[in-house]
Amino acid sequence: MRRKVYISMKIRTIKLLVKEGTSNIYKNKLMTTASIITVAITLFFLGIVLLLAINLTSNIEVMKRDLDITVFLNVSATDFEREEVATYIDSKIEEGVVSQYRFESREVAFENIKNELKNEALLKGLTPAHMPESFYIKLTDPELSDQVISDLTKFSGVNTEYGIGYNKDRLERLEGILKAFNYVLIFLLVVLSIIAIFLISNTIRLTVYARRREIEIMKYVGALDGFIRLPFIVEGLLIGFIGALISYFLTHHAYEWLQHMLNSILLNLGYTTLRMMEFAPVAFRIFVIYAIFGVVIGGIGSMMSVRKHLNV
């Protein structure tokens, strides 16, 4: 005896409900503005920290690429001693520890020093035979450097007088900062999202309250649940999206200011390879992240409110 009538929403209806959700935004100006600002601020802080983290990551990559172990052989080192070291490095390539290496012969070293020291007097009497041979070794993972360096010091041909060059400290410091940034990012993400969701849900609650009579009548007349809910969901999504939009412009300007400032500081400190990247290449990615985040926060906020206060 049961009748089942399937009623889906018509496009016209959806348009009507979206319009209604949009107009709710104006009706409740104070709370709506507060929610939009909250979303914007939330995203702004998240975005700045995220951009700094992206910068650190890319600078760390650059440093890792440039980082190599510099091994000088003794000036007196024999061919056999050189081959010992080369064989060791080849075996490390096979193990996947070393990604590549470069050998610098006495002749090349002599040419290099000649180009660097333009002073003829200093070069007087200097021949390739006075120059040490050297290896420049790139590792697949900087973590493996300690082992490789300690292996290398054991070869008789290796000059340990000046030590084996490897500048890992700065890398480790940056990686430490990156880790801290990631924690801050997660912390901000959780705390600020909760605040934003709470505010949005509260805004929607006020709209639900303001429209409770309409909602009651809608229920008695037989409105579908989705029909009653949709305007509120639209309202939440819009709050999230507008907040994201505002935040995107704020972030864009704040970042470019930060970029110029930090770049000149880095330059003054003498870092030539460390640079803050441009905003343009990541602009679209940031925009998409913001839009998704804003819409998701808005959606969750309104769903929560609708479930709790609408009872449909």
Binding site: R3, K4, I7, R213, E214, I217, V221, G222, A223, D225
Partner: protein
């Protein structure tokens, strides 16, 4: 058609709203539901519209079973019913016309259907001339007519009215009751909960008398018998 089978409603606070009620209302009938305050009249009507579900027994309305009804079916049940309350429940910021049209928008009628049906419904309740008036510009009786037009505009098979004349003077009450009878004569089942002794006695319709949640009597051409 509406059927209560041994239907009982115990509210969450333990109060018994309705107790073992078995009754059947056929299509096209006009039924008064009477009884003292707290006897269960509103509970009886709320079960029909699934505002409350029976805690035991069954209630069948237009082919839907109210006990354990899936949420998704409720809107469909409601669309087969017209509902009127004592306090009219019109939207103050909409005109009479817009209040009636609202009920059609909600069930996704086309703008053409709305333009055709709303004037007919307002005409049926005798309010064609007040279509543009806002509720606060209308008398109580006129407001209840708008509410009736809204309840009828989607052509429900059953009209449920919970003390529709409770806020109206006797003369206006009579006008509303006459209107309900007219609606009934057009084929709509009408169920009215009321305290109006004179009207019930005069109209000689079927009368269900509730007493502390129980169905005490069911008279074909009943009179308002006070149980005290």
């Amino acid at each position: 058609m509406i059927r209560f089978v041994d239907a009982t409603k115990v509210y969450s606070n333990g109060v018994v709203g309705l107790k073992n009620v078995t009754v059947r209302v056929e299509k096209g009938e006009f039924v008064f539901v009477i009884g003292a305050s707290g006897s269960g009249k509103s509970t009886f009507l709320k079960m029909i519209m699934h505002e409350e579900a029976p805690t035991s027994g069954e209630v069948y309305v237009n082919g839907y079973s109210i006990h354990n009804m899936p949420r998704s079916e409720i809107p469909h049940l409601r669309r087969s019913l017209g509902i009127v309350f004592q306090d009219f429940r019109l939207l103050p910021n909409k005109t009479a016309y817009e209040n009636v049209a609202f009920a059609m928008q909600i069930v996704e009628a086309s703008p053409r259907e709305i333009r055709r049906q709303v004037p007919l419904a307002l005409g049926l309740v005798g309010l064609s001339k007040k279509a543009k008036a806002y509720p606060n510009q209308l008398s109580g009786g006129e407001q209840q007519r708008v509410a009736l037009a809204r309840a009828l505009v989607n052509n429900p098979s059953v009209l449920i009215a919970d003390e529709p004349t409770g806020n109206l003077d006797p003369k206006t009450s009579w006008e509303i009751m006459d209107l309900l009878e007219e609606i009934n004569q057009r084929g709509t089942t009408v169920i009215v909960a009321t305290h109006e002794k004179d009207i019930v006695d005069t109209m000689k319709k079927r009368v269900l008398i509730l007493e502390r949640g129980e169905l005490r009597s069911d008279e074909k051409k009943g009179l308002y018998i006070n149980e005290n």
